[in-house]
């Protein structure tokens, strides 16, 4: 099995305050901590497990800045074999179709059986890149995958539908699968792996290097345009309980008890 796994370096905004830059079109990300996208972490684990069971090779692919190399090295430490990082300012990152074209450009011309992506990037929430990538590569796909079984020349996968319902489908290889969180238990990188990862191949390339015409993936090529960003107000009608943690707990206990909520 030759596998590519696409990973994205994303800011953790679950606890951080989001602030816009004065241009209104970009976010001040100076205070965010960045790491691998949650779903991509599961995709890395799945690619390594498939390699361990089937043999073969896993190539990590990421479009991102120099500082994302810590994330890439971590994937290499977990058992991926080599990596490619695309860095080029000319790509229109707001459009997942443009991102897919760049990822496809980096993969085209190389042999592969499987490409794994995350089903969703936690920063931009498109859930579109993987399926667009499959079409761009001219191969089959299945999205929202939470189980992969490798068969002869095909994979049998479970797709997660709404309400806990699953759909089992068979897809002929080569194929792109978009991986859902929870599919496996991502491992921690072993110390030995971390040492070995430093020696593994990490190619840094530009659009020109991978033969992608910058004009075909730039803002002008995109059919959409980001007009503005704004912080939505959290409209809450809740009663906020104030005080020291202990007082808040007491107030809540009283409300729940007296209000007949228990």
């Amino acid at each position: 099995m030759k596998t590519f796994v696409c990973i994205k370096y994303v800011p953790d905004t679950s606890e951080a305050e989001v602030k816009l830059n004065p241009d209104g079109l970009t976010v001040d990300d100076s205070r965010f901590s960045f790491d691998i996208n949650d779903a991509d972490n599961y995709a890395v684990e799945e690619s390594v497990q498939i390699k361990e069971a089937q043999g073969g090779e896993v190539t990590v692919l990421s479009i991102g800045p120099k500082k994302s190399e810590v994330m890439i090295r971590m994937a290499l430490a977990k058992g991926c074999d080599k990596a490619m990082r695309v860095e080029d300012e000319r790509m229109y990152g707001h459009d997942p179709l443009m991102v897919a074209k760049v990822l496809a450009g980096a993969i085209k011309g190389q042999e592969f059986d499987l490409v794994l992506t995350g089903c969703m990037a936690s920063d931009d929430w498109h859930m579109s890149t993987g399926v667009a990538l499959a079409e761009e590569l001219g191969v089959n796909h299945a999205s929202m995958v939470n189980k992969v079984e490798v068969l002869d020349g095909k994979v049998k996968v479970n797709r997660e539908l709404e309400g806990g319902l699953l759909e089992s489908v068979e897809v002929e290889l080569p194929a792109v699968l978009t991986i859902q969180t929870g599919i496996n238990e991502p491992r921690y990188a072993p110390i030995k792996g971390i040492r070995m990862a430093q020696k593994k191949e990490l190619n840094v390339v530009s659009l020109d290097d991978i033969g992608v015409d910058p004009a075909a993936v730039g803002a002008d090529a995109s059919g959409i345009e980001l007009e503005k960003l704004y912080i939505p107000e959290v409209v809450s009608t809740a009663e906020y309980l104030e005080g020291e943690p202990e007082e808040k707990a007491e107030k809540l206990a009283t409300i729940l008890h007296k209000g007949g909520l228990l």
Partner: protein, 324 residues
């Protein structure tokens, strides 16, 4: 003419909510562009479902073909590719669901058409179709405008708007199936129903729900103590089930369960829309989160902005006291 074509979604014999919700958006959008909203229904034996939609005052185009028996992205793409050429809608939209996200991006690439995914709003303004979408765990909104193209593709979030009430009778038209080739490279095998666990959280009166804020499973006793004190069942966000802290059948949200307890206490849960969709039907919602901007507070009745590890033990203690 600017028609808006809406692909209705159904599964196991029932229309999905998003199919109706899109009818709160599509007619208005079409009106702005001087066109009409048309609903497309793919399936096998669709008469009953078509009847349900036609009451919303729209034209329903039914493509009845056994190949649509179960959803298959390859077949949908083939059919839609042909129908978009024929019908030339200005906007083609479907749900941002496990079904919609499985073919729309591929269709966009094939037809070289622009796509906005996971739209929560859609309007015709200043001569342009504009979509609103969310980023960064719902802490940031973006307005995205389409540039001129034959058709704009949109996947629309389920639960983003309320479905309208049925209005007047529209019309139903049967359309020949455009699917010509057998599709062989992707095969539907079966549905696998959700697992059933020891507790059915959809029946619980009180739920204590945990999220990634719990940090580690060794902190579980904190929650178990509270749950025991008030005879609650424990549920959680996807982050909590993915981490293995609680079983999968305790997950609340779009890919888990929709719950309607009398009391829902959410702690260390940010309130992603996929989670809110499963619990906003709770009668009383308490949210404990240390981030004042967490979207969970938008649905809460009682809010505590603080560290759950400081609040919850005290809460349990006090509740035990009060109950005597």
């Amino acid at each position: 003419m600017g028609n808006v074509l809406v692909l209705a979604e159904h599964r196991q014999g029932a229309l999905r909510d998003v199919s109706f919700e899109m009818l709160a958006v599509a007619p208005k959008l079409a009106e702005g562009m001087g066109g009409e909203a048309v609903v497309l229904l793919f399936g096998s034996g669709m008469d009953d479902l078509a009847k349900k939609i036609v009451n919303y005052g729209v034209k329903v185009m039914v493509v009845d073909d056994p190949v649509f028996e179960n959803f298959n992205a390859e077949i949908y793409q083939q059919a839609l590719s042909a129908l978009l050429d024929d019908l030339k809608p200005k906007v083609f939209m479907t749900g941002h669901t496990a079904q919609g996200v499985d073919f729309m991006p591929a269709l966009a690439i094939e037809k070289k058409l622009p796509l906005v995914a996971d739209a929560v709003g859609l309007a015709f303004e200043d001569g342009k179709v504009k979509a609103t979408r969310q980023l960064y765990s719902g802490k940031l909104n973006a307005v995205v405008a389409f540039k001129e193209a034959d058709t704009y593709l949109v996947t629309f979030r389920e639960g983003a708007v309320e479905a309208p009430d049925p209005s007047s009778a529209g019309s139903v038209e049967k359309v020949d199936s455009p699917v010509k080739e057998e599709v062989s490279y992707r095969k539907f095998v079966e549905y696998i129903e959700a697992e059933v666990g020891d507790v059915d959280i959809t029946q619980s009166d009180i739920l204590v729900a945990i999220g990634r804020g719990l940090k580690e499973d060794k902190n579980l006793p904190l929650v178990e103590d509270l749950a025991a004190a008030i005879k609650a069942d424990i549920a959680g966000s996807r982050a909590a089930t993915d981490a293995g802290w609680i079983p999968h059948d305790r997950q609340v949200g779009t890919s888990g369960k929709a719950v309607k307890p009398k009391l829902y206490i959410a702690m260390g849960i940010s309130g992603a829309f996929q989670h809110l969709a499963g619990m906003k039907g709770a009668k009383t919602i308490v949210a404990i989160n240390k981030d004042p901007e967490a979207p969970i507070f938008s649905v809460a009745d009682y809010a505590i902005v603080d560290d759950m590890f400081k609040v919850v033990p005290k809460l349990t203690e006090k509740l035990k006291e009060l109950k005597g």
